[in-house]
Symmetry: D2
């Protein structure tokens, strides 16, 4: 199992063309936690000027996967996740904060809170998610 | 309630900057169904050359929302969805096919099958999803 | 891997004390499908005379698990599921019909439709669900 | 909107025949939180001596619904929930602790942690869930 640290996590994110398209960044990584941030810019919006739900779903998916990487190693497969939207995502930056709730060798179960951070630094919860991630490493 | 047809659905999609960034298109719309397609191109991939899970999640979210629009009208809010990935999405085109399973006046419950279509036209299921969409129209 | 057939599935259900408490029965099993039925009786209701959502959730969980058993064998662990309620469950019998959408050796992804069947035999969809089930068999 | 307190919540639970069958009890209620407990006894088990997943699903469903009742009032409809099982539920008592993450007038979004409490009082997380609950009160 390859150990991951913030530097390596950033390289992995950088190696994802879609994450570059979205311009996501990882701001924290380790000990069962990962934080992924995306600045809100027009090309990520839906028709009403909010961040598109698909951007939130991308951020939840990826933050959950990275958080699981802190316990399962680099070779992981995301099994799926559920997301509930609670408020239109209007603000300067989206922050998806994922936390491993339980991990075994084969699978991690992860929660994610999605906040929008306003110009004034104030945060508002815009979605919550939970998902499972499987280890793709060969069993030893 | 504003009636939606395929032409109007396409205009709505075109009005979503993020859907333009992803280059999604709607290929079917009506009677509780919507099909959203995205051609696989490098900038939508993750690090192993598959379509990023976030692209699938975006497609599921949006296909579910559009399908609900066929029964609830144009003013809708997606409440949330669950997605299970079943196979790496490798192929020419992603097709997210959503179907309303039940609708009331206030809420629709929708399923979505996500297929990758290969160069040879062969299809493989890569994810399944289900979600709920609320009417945002003022009650009368 | 132990092959399961309807008779063995019924024995497994019978070996679940909670399924006996609920008085569930399996009416179909095989080829990626399982049907679990529960007759509506007062002690399964909530305060308004409908079947309790927890009974529907139990039926979805168990039908999904049994359906996965047709492809993964008897030793399985249900990873989780999502359920959306669409209508109060009023009727004579609850029928949870689960169908494997994709299976590998390690994991199956399953959908489930939950119907209430009225006195006249008419059926109404009352919930939809999807879930994942992991093989608990030792890898060979 | 009818105000709910712990006493009224217990009356509501008592009015649910299925909750009486399971012998669930509410041990905390208010300020966006509800705790529902179920003692583990043989008739709630599956074939391996663990609490049946359906019991956990029932507890998640009901704890989520009651927690939402603290913000939406007594007239609510649970829209659905997702549950991820993380560990076999072996222990003396199941405790489902639900917390409203966001509430509006029409809908609440709720998380639930499910713990098994052992004979020694030690707790182990056995599942996590999240769900949405709609107000069923007539709009004013």
């Amino acid at each position: 199992m390859q150990e991951l640290d913030l530097q390596l996590a950033r390289k992995t994110l950088e190696a994802q063309p879609f994450s570059r398209l979205v311009q996501a960044r990882i701001t924290a990584f380790g000990d069962g936690r990962a934080v992924l941030e995306v600045d809100s810019r027009t090309e990520l919006h839906q028709q009403n000027g909010f961040l598109h739900g698909g951007v939130l779903a991308y951020a939840a998916d990826n933050a959950i996967t990275f958080a699981a990487g802190t316990t399962l190693g680099a070779a992981v497969l995301t099994g799926g996740f559920s997301i509930s939207y609670v408020r239109p995502a209007v603000g300067r930056t989206l922050a998806a904060r994922a936390q491993v709730m339980h991990t075994g060798r084969r699978q991690a179960t992860v929660r994610c809170d999605l906040y929008v951070v306003g110009e004034d630094g104030e945060e508002a919860l815009c979605a919550i998610a939970q998902g499972t991630v499987l280890s793709a490493a060969p069993s030893s």
